[in-house]
């Protein structure tokens, strides 16, 4: 029971902190934000790893490998694409802008 309370607490605390932080993100960065959180959601890779912490049957090996492949595709691809995207955002260029 204590375990359930702890897990619920962790969920709620993270959700609230996430909400507070993410509502501060300007809409300019919403696409990179979603792309990054998309990569974070592949944190299931930890679960897939834990699958291999005990003796596994053949079916479990196959499924576990499948989970690791899909999750690592998601996590690596997600962070890489976010990085690429953020590198595109440039500040004012060298040429003069009209006074505003």
């Amino acid at each position: 029971m204590a375990n359930l309370l702890l897990m619920t607490g962790v969920f709620i605390a993270s959700f609230i902190v996430g909400t507070l932080l993410i509502s501060k993100v300007p809409s300019l960065l919403h696409t990179p934000l979603m792309s990054m959180t998309n990569a974070i959601s592949a944190v299931t890779i930890l679960g897939a790893l834990i699958l291999f912490s005990v003796e596994t049957s053949v079916v479990e090996k196959v499924l576990g490998a499948l989970a690791i492949i899909t999750a690592s595709f998601n996590v690596v691809g997600g962070f890489a694409i976010t990085d690429r995207m953020l590198r595109l955002f440039k500040e004012k260029r060298t040429n003069e802008q009209s006074p505003y």
């Binding site: 962790v10 932080l21 809409s27 919403h30 959601s41 679960g47 690791i68 690592s72």
Partner: protein
């Protein structure tokens, strides 16, 4: 101790998101988050003895390298399809992990874990199939218009009821074989439900769907964390769920849609009106076949060029039509030309321009536009009345004054960009037909609106040619020099 290390890793993740408030720091934020995830990964490796290291490493390499290669090669217009596909991959991982944990004979789960496992299995499988459909729609592998079956809502409700029944009965199943069969049925049913759910959603509603799937992927990860007993998984998943929920809310507000109505539309929506965005394939032949029309086009171009030359303040409103015509570079070139002429040029970005939240900003960033020229709707809406010229490129519903003036249309009450308040409007849309909402755009008929129908890329190029032509007649050495330097 373990708890505090976990908290430290979670804080690292939060620090990563914290840096997303500012474009300059966001890059480091992304790296910080990636670092936090790597730490979590190493922690799990350290805490658990991994039996089949070979399989783990091989799978990591296969998945990771594929992900990296794909991420390197996609263009920015494909980002929504790519993100949707990755959501699907994450969902698949979540339901596979839940399935293995649930059916594994070597460990006995308590009730909480078992319930979470079934929920994780369901949400993961729904996310998987719905994301695959969304991704296929976004990359035009299947038609973007809504596919509506007869009694679609009833089918969805029945399947939902079925999901609930099977889920509950798997919990009470007596033998493990029975439970396994029920889990597999649950997965199939979830996949079916996900397809049914997302197949009905049209192209312009994609930003809402993709945000919701983001939240669902996070939620699935969280439930997965309960089954595997990993607080890190729960916390990371919850953060993603929070992010997805906020973006869903923002998108719904910007489209003036109730979340429920996006996903469960009334069956009699006016869907027979062809969607504006879908006509990209037929863009090539602009309606300029006859001489009279051709001369009208030339007249329009001349008028537009004069308007641009005379304007001091210009706001550009890009829509998804611009991306479909692949005219970002040309628009950016035109904007740069105007900046070089000493004009004040800004871009007005509607929150739902594009196919996912903030998509337009990325598309313009790719075209080399500085991000401080991209202004959000709330900020720029005050400026339109003092603006000499508004240049609309492939946007319709987001500038339709009917959202304010007319009641009982699908867009009534939707926040729009106040283009109609500007002194003059030049509109480079494909045609003057209504946009996705099917509501006539009264802006097109205003006397101060110059319509330049046709492929936006072609139109902008013609406009540029016409502008430099007019400029040669009245040469301005300083400006030309500046422009040459830029080019």
């Amino acid at each position: 101790m373990i708890f505090f290390i976990d908290v430290a890793v979670i804080f690292a993740l939060i620090a990563g998101i914290w840096q997303f408030r500012e474009p300059r720091q966001a890059k480091f934020g992304n790296l910080t988050a990636a670092g936090a995830l790597t730490c979590a990964f190493l922690l799990v490796l350290y805490r658990h003895e991994i039996m089949d290291m070979g399989i783990v490493i091989a799978s990591l390499l296969v998945g990771g390298l594929t992900g990296f290669a794909v991420a390197r090669s996609v263009s920015m217009i494909q980002i929504p399809a790519m993100v949707a596909f990755q959501h699907g991959a994450g969902g698949a991982a979540a339901f596979v992990v839940s399935l293995v944990e649930l059916t594994r004979a070597t460990n006995t789960l308590d009730e909480v874990s078992e319930i979470s496992g079934v929920i994780g299995l369901t949400i993961g499988a729904v996310t998987f199939s719905a994301s695959m459909v969304a991704s296929a729609k976004l990359s035009n592998r299947i038609r973007q218009t809504p596919h509506i079956l007869k009694a679609h809502n009833y089918l969805l409700s029945i399947a939902l009821g079925g999901l609930f029944m099977v889920g509950v009965s798997s919990f009470y199943s007596s033998t493990s074989d029975m439970a396994l069969i029920l889990y597999l049925v649950q997965i199939l049913l979830s996949v079916f439900w996900g397809i049914l759910f997302s197949i009905r959603i049209g192209g312009a509603d994609m930003p809402v769907l993709i945000s919701l799937l983001n939240a669902a992927a996070g939620l699935a990860a969280s439930f997965c964390g309960v089954v595997t007993g990993s607080q890190l998984l729960i916390a990371f998943g919850a953060t993603v769920a929070a992010s997805g929920s906020i973006l869903t809310h923002v998108m719904c507000k910007a489209m003036n849609r109730n979340l429920f109505r996006v996903f469960f539309p009334e069956q009699k929506r006016p869907m027979d009106i062809p969607e504006k965005d879908e006509r990209s394939s037929t863009l090539l032949s602009a309606p300029a076949s006859e001489d009279a029309e051709a001369s009208a086009v030339v007249q329009g171009l001349k008028k537009a060029a004069t308007a641009i030359l005379n304007a001091e303040t210009v706001i550009i409103i890009p829509g998804y039509g611009m991306a479909l015509a692949n005219a970002q570079m040309n628009v950016a070139e035109l904007a740069q030309w105007m900046v070089a002429m000493g004009k004040d040029v800004k871009y007005a970005i509607h929150p739902v321009a594009g196919r996912m939240p903030g998509h337009m900003n990325v598309l313009l960033a790719e075209a080399g536009v500085d991000y401080d020229m991209l202004i959000e709707m709330e900020t720029i809406n005050f400026d339109f009345r003092y603006t000499d010229l508004v240049l609309i490129v492939g946007a319709c519903d987001v500038v339709n004054p009917a959202a304010i003036d007319v009641e009982n249309t699908p867009i009534s009450g939707m926040p729009i960009l106040m283009a109609h308040q500007a002194k003059q409007v030049v509109c480079c849309n494909f045609d003057d037909k209504p946009g996705y909402s099917g509501v006539e755009n009264s802006l097109y008929k205003n006397c101060n609106t110059i319509m330049l129908p046709g492929d936006a890329k072609k139109t902008i190029n013609q406009l540029l040619a016409s502008l430099s032509d007019q400029q040669h007649k009245a040469p301005n050495v300083k400006v030309s020099a500046l422009y040459l330097m830029d080019g």
